[in-house]
């Protein structure tokens, strides 16, 4: 039987945790860096931990950029996690500019280095933060989440999509509004780590696995 979801193996990120969380949702994941498997997957997860340039370099070195575009062309469900979400955008300013996959128009920019009180605050943004859905964005990945649903973030850069309509939910880091979930059609991204966000994260993964 083919896997329910292919998790892209490109040498970056905590793939073991992503696989175990998908399995805990009752789905059958496969870890693969094979071009054909990526292009023809029924669902695709692009995980990621680390720097943007390293991530794009690894995808390119393994010849995975074109298969990811081919997959996206099928309009099947795609989920980018953390760096995987950031790589969905056009370009990142992290040690850059560095071009991304360009699946969603926009940039990846540094988290502002000052907080609500105008004083310097700590970056990276590390820890649990509440997911704040934008108006009319309750469904899809966020289906069934309560008002206090929180997820685990660890990042120094944030997505800034060209179209505000592609931001489904934000979080508030010390006065800085940071996109937490983005979406364009079947393409989803979350800045936090659903595989490390307890029952809330598992619910979000479950919603992605049920998305059609």
């Amino acid at each position: 039987m083919p896997p329910d979801v292919v998790v892209v193996d490109y040498g970056m990120g905590n793939v073991a945790s992503v696989l175990r969380a998908v399995a805990a949702c009752g789905a059958k994941p496969a870890l693969s860096g094979d071009r054909q498997s990526v292009a023809t997957a029924s669902r695709l997860i692009l995980p990621g931990v680390g720097a943007f340039r390293d991530g794009m370099d690894e995808l390119r070195r393994r010849g995975l950029i074109e298969p990811i575009h081919a997959f996206v062309g099928t309009r099947r469900p795609f989920l980018g996690i953390c760096l995987g979400m950031q790589m969905m955008l056009s370009v990142s300013e992290e040690f850059g500019p560095v071009p991304g996959l360009g699946l969603i128009g926009g940039n990846v920019v540094a988290i502002p280095d000052r907080g609500r009180d105008g004083q310097p605050h700590k970056v990276p943004h590390v820890g649990w933060n509440r997911i704040i859905p934008r108006n009319g964005c309750a469904g899809a990945l966020l289906e069934g989440l309560g008002p206090d649903a929180s997820a685990y973030f660890v990042h120094s850069y944030a997505a800034a999509p060209d179209s505000p309509g592609s931001i489904v939910a934000d979080c508030d880091y010390d006065g800085c509004r940071i996109p937490a979930v983005i979406r364009s059609g079947a393409l989803h991204g979350c800045q936090f780590h659903p595989e490390k966000s307890g029952p809330t994260g598992l619910r979000i993964l479950h919603n992605f696995l049920a998305f059609s």
Binding site: N14, S17, P124, G127, W128, N129, K196
Partner: protein
Amino acid sequence: MPNIRLIARLDVKGPNLIKGIHLEGVRVVGDPGEFARDYYEQGIDELIYADAVASLYQRQNLVEMVRRASEAVFVPMTVAGGIRCVADVEELLRAGADKVAINTAAARRPALIAEIARRFGAQCMVLSIEAKQVAPGRWEAHTDGGREPTGFEVLEWARRAIDLGAGEILLTSVDREGTRAGFDCELVRRVATAVPVPVIASGGMGSLEHLREVIEHGRADAVAFADVLHYRRLSLAGIRSFALEAGYCVRRHAA
């Protein structure tokens, strides 16, 4: 105020969860896997696995322990103890760890910090400092469960490690560890207010008042505790609701 993380620290020796005083004089508490799952279900924000002995054999045991835990625990896990090289880190991350905390090997060869941060990102490289007060307003970093002095002043060492790529500091007060006498808030404040990365305060939690002190006075970004949870002196739900009532930004656990 940043988001405060509530972290359970699991000190392990062989197959057992242990608890000591001043990182020594250990007692067996139980099965670390059971405690990890229980804390996850109660809504812990993160777990730290710390192996004080950490010989080569012990580390294999730790890898297996992390692998089993990661099948049922979906919050970040940091592993400390006996990590000597990039390959050790890779093995632990593959097993399901998210971060490693390094003390002895970093003190012996600080370049290891840069190697790990370059390979896995700064967010993965936690500098573990075992601090002992040596004079008023002065703390020295130690290794080997607080037994061996490094000669490094704690804040200078933290700053140097951050320059090399450490993304977080696990700051354990050897003087307070296991005493339930409260955190060394002067120590925590000295480091947490002077560095640009998160500081986890560890060692000394005995009451909710201690939590208030280390957040308000110590300015900790995260708080680790062991004894109060292991022996059920305080409940995680009680700690969390105290923090919420005090107005701290902590996760509202939604099961």
